[in-house]
């Protein structure tokens, strides 16, 4: 199979190449080039549902937020000089498979002598408009605010979400790779742990660690001959926060609301068919709202759900059976990946003492 004849470029935009671009920055130039290409293609900004950037300093989530694009496919091509060409190849694969209708591939370089050397890390609005006000560390700040709002809108309580952490710690006791192995905690322990930033308590927040994870993906044909029982990938979807986590209209709705339906449609299954979930859990509240947005629990009802459902590996709907990141630890970006690994492990039937019984079909939110 190839993408020959399956994809085409329909619009182009280019800015004059100059020694310097005074007064402009990279996102601004990206915006100008994007506008030209979109106009040239005779589509609207709102039609763009995929984005590919060079993926380094102008990573897709940042660019989508700055330009206000609402996409369901996004990636960085990260191929240095070949980033643009690679981007087009990736875009072709995406549109050919229906992952997006119109993919914007956009790359820019500013040569503005006034910029550069302004601070550590990537340029962004946070250094200018957020840090002077002392946000809590990293993502703690945004999720604290999201948690607060979820409590306000739906009456969710800390007692309810404490079950997330407690149940997952139970699962982690059977995970020799977990950073908190051998350290049980109770529901009350979660509620007694100190506030990092209200309403987030210490045991509701993930611990950054070291580690790594990897998988091998092959065709179904080759998988049939594998010595392991294969874990088939039945569908996948992507979602990005388009206006930034705190700027979007309702902060208690995550991009999973967009990506889950895509994945489910592709698979031909509905949320009801899922037998387990491995969901990103840097915070109890994040996992909670994503479970809602995926359709596994009605919006606003995650509190009562965790109150009344056994989500340990022994229970009726197992979630994060290896302890999740909250109890197994977060080795950076490998933390999210580990949810994929645990899902595969469970389907393959190799989870040992924490093996779940109904292990045919599960949902992963990475």
């Amino acid at each position: 199979m190839s993408f020959r004849g399956e994809a085409a470029i329909i619009g182009i935009g280019e800015l004059p190449t100059q020694r310097t671009y005074l007064g402009k920055s990279m996102p601004g130039l990206l915006g100008d080039a994007a506008r030209l290409a979109i106009h040239d293609a005779h589509i609207n900004v709102g039609d763009v549902d995929g984005i590919i950037t060079e993926g380094g300093i102008t990573y897709p989530a940042f660019v989508a937020e700055y330009l206000g694009l609402s996409v369901r496919f996004a990636t960085g091509s990260s191929m240095m000089g070949a980033s643009g060409a690679t981007g087009v190849a990736l875009a072709s694969m995406a549109v050919m498979n229906g992952l997006a209708n119109y993919v914007l591939v956009v790359i820019a370089q500013d040569r503005n002598p006034a910029l550069g050397g302004g601070g550590e890390g990537f340029p962004g609005h946070a250094g200018e408009f957020d840090f002077p006000y002392g946000p809590a560390a990293g993502a703690n700040n945004g999720y604290g605010q999201i948690y607060q709002r979820h409590m306000e809108l739906y009456g969710t309580t800390q007692e309810q979400l404490a079950h997330v952490a407690a149940n997952q710690r139970f699962n982690a006791l059977e995970n020799p790779n977990a950073v908190f192995k051998g350290q049980p905690i109770t529901h009350q322990d979660v509620l007694d742990s100190r506030y990092v930033n209200y309403p987030l308590r210490l045991l509701e927040v993930v611990m950054p660690c070291g580690g790594a994870a990897a998988v091998i993906v092959t065709s179904a044909e080759r998988a049939a001959a594998s010595l392991n029982k294969p874990a088939y990938v039945l569908g996948g979807g992507t979602g990005l926060d388009d206006f930034g986590a705190l700027q979007k209209p309702e902060i208690t709705v995550s991009p999973v609301a967009r990506s889950a339906p895509i994945a489910l449609n592709m698979s031909g299954y509905s949320p009801r068919d899922m037998q387990f979930a491995q969901f990103y859990d840097c915070y109890t509240i994040l996992e909670s709202m994503c479970l809602e947005d995926a359709g596994l629990v009605p919006k606003g009802e995650i509190g009562p759900f965790f109150e009344s459902t056994d989500t340990t590996y022994k229970g009726e709907f197992p979630i994060n059976t290896d302890g999740g990141q909250l109890s197994a630890g977060q080795p950076g970006l490998a933390g999210g990946f580990r949810h994929v690994v645990e899902a595969a492990r469970q389907i393959m039937g190799r989870a040992g003492p924490r093996q779940i019984e109904r292990n045919d079909l599960g949902m992963v939110n990475g």
Binding site: E128, D130, Q145
Partner: protein, 173 residues
Amino acid sequence: MTYGDTPGGGKKKAPDAVSDYKKPLPNPSLNPEVSKPFWDGTKKHELWVQYDRRNNKFVFPPREVSPGDLTPMDELEWTKINGMGRVYSYTTVYQSSIPAFTEEAPYVNATIQLDAAGVRMTGNVLGLTKEQLMNNELHINQRVEAVFEDITPDWTLVKWQIVDEEEAPSAEE
């Protein structure tokens, strides 16, 4: 909020600037020229944001193109807006990654929904005691008003003072 930024990256002014302000100064790392009118405004104790004339909406944080429409900068007009708003959500910070802030904990970091449609700003909310904060007495939709704090000779921050909800007018007045 943009992930990937690291805190503590405040651009320090000339070393001989008289300032023992230890918290991060605003760092306009994206494009200082574009956001300058905002900071010039705060120095005058006024709130100025961009207005997209084509799509009839305010744009904040400041940008070179209007998000969602890509309207170019020359059609974004700086406009003075009213400093009134409400708390959209907030978190009470007990532990920051910036030591100078942790010293003052607990304090509030909030997202303010300004009356001006579609404008959200993050900031600190003032007017509650530490005890009230620890009892979670701040509530969502609390009315607030912008106040301006001159932190150094070059920078003025916008913070948010809680104010009472004014009672709706009634006929007999």
